[in-house]
Amino acid sequence: MSRNSIRFWIGATFFLVAVALMTQLISNEYPFFAAYGILQFIVLAVAWSILGGYAGYVNFGTSAFFGVGVYTAVFLFKATGAPLGVQIAAAALVGALLGFAVGLLTLRMQGIFFSIATIALTIVIETSVTNWRYVGGAAGIQLQRPSVMAPFHSYVQMLFFVQAFMVVLAIAIARYIQNSWIGRGLQALKDDEVAAECTGVPTLRLKVLACVISGALMCAAGAPAAMYLQYADPSSAFNLNYSVSVLAMSLIGGTAHWAGPVVGAILLGSTQQLLAVTISSEVNVLVLGIMLVLFVVAAPQGIIGLVRRGRRHRTGDKA
């Protein structure tokens, strides 16, 4: 293992231990309830950039994958009372299958067509779920949380830990892809698909692979949301806001490195949380829009791009 990897895994372990300690030491549920949303956005943004960042295929269907994750959990819980772990694993599997199907159908198209197809996907799936009586239809469905498992004292704290674990998992996967042949292949096809194909890169297969991994992670991130809110309805589970926010987080953070979407999700996620509490939940959409415009104009490579440029500047001065 390289020195960099050792550092990464030590950091990840510290993070998880800190999260576990927090759930034991802080008894107030609210901080966990609020921070859960940010963790959820980190997973979604990291997952999004595997396809959207590394391969350059802009997916507007985050909410479709997220919502499918939510409803996989709802269905399993209602039908079999499956525990949380099974709900998440099943959601990941469904997400992978959905990613595979969508990828195979649409990734032959380049650029904008793929994006349009993913918007259509959201609408089709949302409409289907809205008309699916068993999971509550348009009215939504109330869910009664089962009793919490030791060592956690409250269900929200447990969900917080589970989502933190998924953050680590998502980042580890994104980081692996970035540093491996898969990442180099995706970067090559992002730069020039024809040249990549003629250099031996199986472009379609790699794009579908990225779509499968990205889809599985997004669905997995959505699975605990039903238990988190104890309620699910199609118009919030498939809310286009997820797609827009996640896209903005990834672009503002920067997509060239896995840390970009993480930084973007923390920054925007907490700003949104703060604005929603202090002013109103409508203002945060406005702020999102303004920040996105500012970054696209002033820093198209995102925060990661700014940091890299700053670093190069400093080393350049020394030389």
């Binding site: 180099r184 292949g185 040249a195 194909e197 003629c198 250099t199 031996g200």
Partner: protein, 248 residues
């Protein structure tokens, strides 16, 4: 030594036809390329040269006819599989991976194409890349971004990236277009050097003295048909070739 006509061809193009709507870009083209041959492909603009090599490299698929490479029918194979089988190409307008350094461009080829019998172990990857870059005169640029390269360097980089796929057949699509005469000689020397290493090369070019110096055999296309094939001198002396180029 086996006489050339009994040798198994490296590449056999058999009755290939390619249409774009009503336009016939290639019309019943058949030709055999021998192993180790330096083959020149000429013809006026729009005569089907690039379409032909697109059908060989897999960027396009022939509707009629077959492409056989080393005894295997590759007509329907996607481009990346053909690259792995040993067909590499450069592009008329260079297509570097812009977000990468020169060395990283070659790494992509090592990762994806040079697998199988020529598998390159991780530890040797950098050495392999550097030796190809040294051969192509780009060693000093290895860690620079491709956006900083000049035209001639980009052309060399394309050839170097193609070489990193360990090709048996290298197709050079107008690698010299728009270069100064000294740069043309540089690229030409490079191609001749590569040909000397046993790699079969198909060169598309408009610069006649380069074609004459390089090719053992030349084929001239016009409006999708072969109008002449033979030694460079024979083809140049051909009446129809002169008409196609000079007009009558």
């Amino acid at each position: 030594m086996t006489p050339p006509e009994l040798e198994v061809p490296l590449l056999r193009i058999d009755a290939v036809t390619k249409r774009f709507g009503g336009f016939v870009a290639l019309d019943d083209v058949s030709v055999d390329i021998r192993p180790g041959e330096r083959f020149g492909l000429i013809g006026p603009n729009g005569s089907g040269k690039t379409t032909l090599i697109n059908c060989i490299s897999g960027a396009m698929h022939a509707e009629v006819g077959t492409v056989v490479f080393r005894g295997e029918d590759i007509t329907q194979l996607p481009a990346h599989i053909r690259t792995r089988r040993g067909i590499a190409r450069s592009f008329q307008i260079p297509r570097p991976f812009k977000s990468m350094t020169v060395a990283e461009n070659l790494m992509v080829a090592l990762d994806f194409a040079a697998i199988g019998d020529d598998f390159v172990v991780a530890a040797q990857r950098r050495d392999t890349v550097m030796s190809i870059l040294t051969q192509t005169g780009l060693a000093a640029k290895a860690d620079l971004s491709t956006t900083g390269l000049s035209q001639v360097e980009l052309r060399k980089m394309e050839l170097a990236r193609a070489m990193a796929t360990h090709p048996k057949l290298l197709i050079s699509d107008e690698a010299m277009a728009g270069l100064s005469s000294s740069e043309v000689d540089e690229v030409l020397d490079l191609l001749i050097k590569l040909g000397g290493q046993g790699i079969t090369i198909i060169m598309i070019e408009h610069i006649m003295h380069a074609v004459m110096r390089f090719s053992e055999r030349v084929m001239c296309l016009d409006a999708g048909r072969i109008i002449a094939i033979g030694t460079p001198d024979e083809v140049m002396a051909n009446q129809r070739v002169q008409e196609a180029y000079l007009g009558t």
